[in-house]
Amino acid sequence: MSGSHVQRRGFVQSTIDTLYAAISRVMYAETLARGEGLLQGIDPRVKLAGLLAWILAAALSSKLWVIAALLAVAVSLALFSRVPLSVLAPVWTSALLFTGAIAIPALFLTPGTTALDMPNVGWRITHQGLASAAYLITRVETSGTIALVLVFTTPWTHILKSMRILRVPVIIVVVLGMTLRYILLLLETAREMFESRKSRMVGTLTSRDQRRLAIHGGGVLIAKAFQLSGEVFLAMQARGFRGEVYVLDEFSMTQRDWAALSLFAMLAAGAAWAGR
């Protein structure tokens, strides 16, 4: 071999990299949630109830600045809780792309005054259409950010236990609880599948082969997901799981928790009043 040359990473390698990154993100979320920070020290029940109230206030608000203010507060809380922007940014981008795609028709179809004419195609964007799209995108970004703040500052088992305390039905809590357990196993399985494919691959794949590989991989993963879901659930049952969530940590309200609950409630009420 004479020296090295740079190769394109290719579909298989980039898929493996993406899966590694996804596994790392899941691990990182749990590490952050168990670390030090402003929100990490607050009772999970307070966070769950308070942040849900904020999401509700954002969804009901009819003023854009109110929703944007809630977003700003959520981002500030994330930073004070040592959740870096680099963790939030990919979710913002994804939400923007998906919600943006959904919002595009509203730009043209919502009746109202013209904001921009597109003479070549004869379409026009209305002010009302722009406002509708802005509301939709801002609400989704804000709700997503608030939900992420909760997930990155609270261990998953504590969120589940808090949900049961807040009377969320057992079946929903069980499904959510098992979701995290499957995610790691499925990500690992997918990574091994693609690494195994790579180990037997010479040269590069055509676009058609890449699509075929992705479809086959998806099919195999779905089949494995069914099998794994059964296995993990059996393993939980075998150790006495009956649907309820029990964790070692005791939840007890301190003065700081009551103060946090008051702040959460006041901000939610203020946002609801200002955004009415």
């Binding site: 691990m27 168990r34 690992e188 993990v232 059996l234 029990y246 070692l248």
Partner: protein, 268 residues
Amino acid sequence: MGGPLMLFEVDRVHYRYQQQTALSDLSLNIAEGTRVALLGANGSGKSTLLRVLDGLYFADSGQVRFRGDELTEHMFAHDDFAYHFRRQVGLVFQNPDVQLFNPTVFDEVAFGPLQLRWSKSEVRDRVGDILDRLRIGNLRDRIPHRLSGGEKKRVALASVLVLDPAVLLLDEPTAALDPRSHSQLIDLLVEWGGGAKSVITATHDLRDLEDIADRCFVLDAGQLVAEGPPNEILRDAALLQRTNLVHAHRHRHGGEIHSHPHVHGSET
């Protein structure tokens, strides 16, 4: 009358996975306090039988009784019976990955005791104790998912042993372990409970049979084909060969190639 108290009574059990029969007209009895090996090649029905014994699968026909109580879905719908049974019987799965789903090793081992509603102080004490006994105290804050195969197996074992069950069901406990971990695990199982507990091990590895079992049941295609003490089973070369527990192994001595029975999992 007056015979040994039966732990499990399996009476003409059939179990199918959709199109495939896993257990067929299977009957066997396991007495209290015995150490039993379920022997059979891959696909012989060992794992399915363990799950039936653990009340995770229910027979399509036939009966399974645990200390006289029939294991049915109806029985497990009652919290009292379910908690009592789960407290008494522990199952270690073959694949530790499906058994490790908590964020840390400590949480993983504490999962079972918490489900059985032990007091929090007792959970903390017992988890710490079992981690030390299995020499994995240094892993307590690690993420189970990121452990080595041997470490995962130990954590999976700890997550069941912490309950101190009277009956331990083990599915291929030494599969894929390095020789040292294998040896340590066998020592632990031999010593566990001072030899007074019931241990039912599904395996196709004959190396440690006499250490881990007083009695063997040999399964083939979901049926019981033989039972007896380990030395008797190990002497029956025709049986072992017929059930794929040994096979003719060709190798070279000097310039001559010859074959002799080869034990699965054995290095000799």
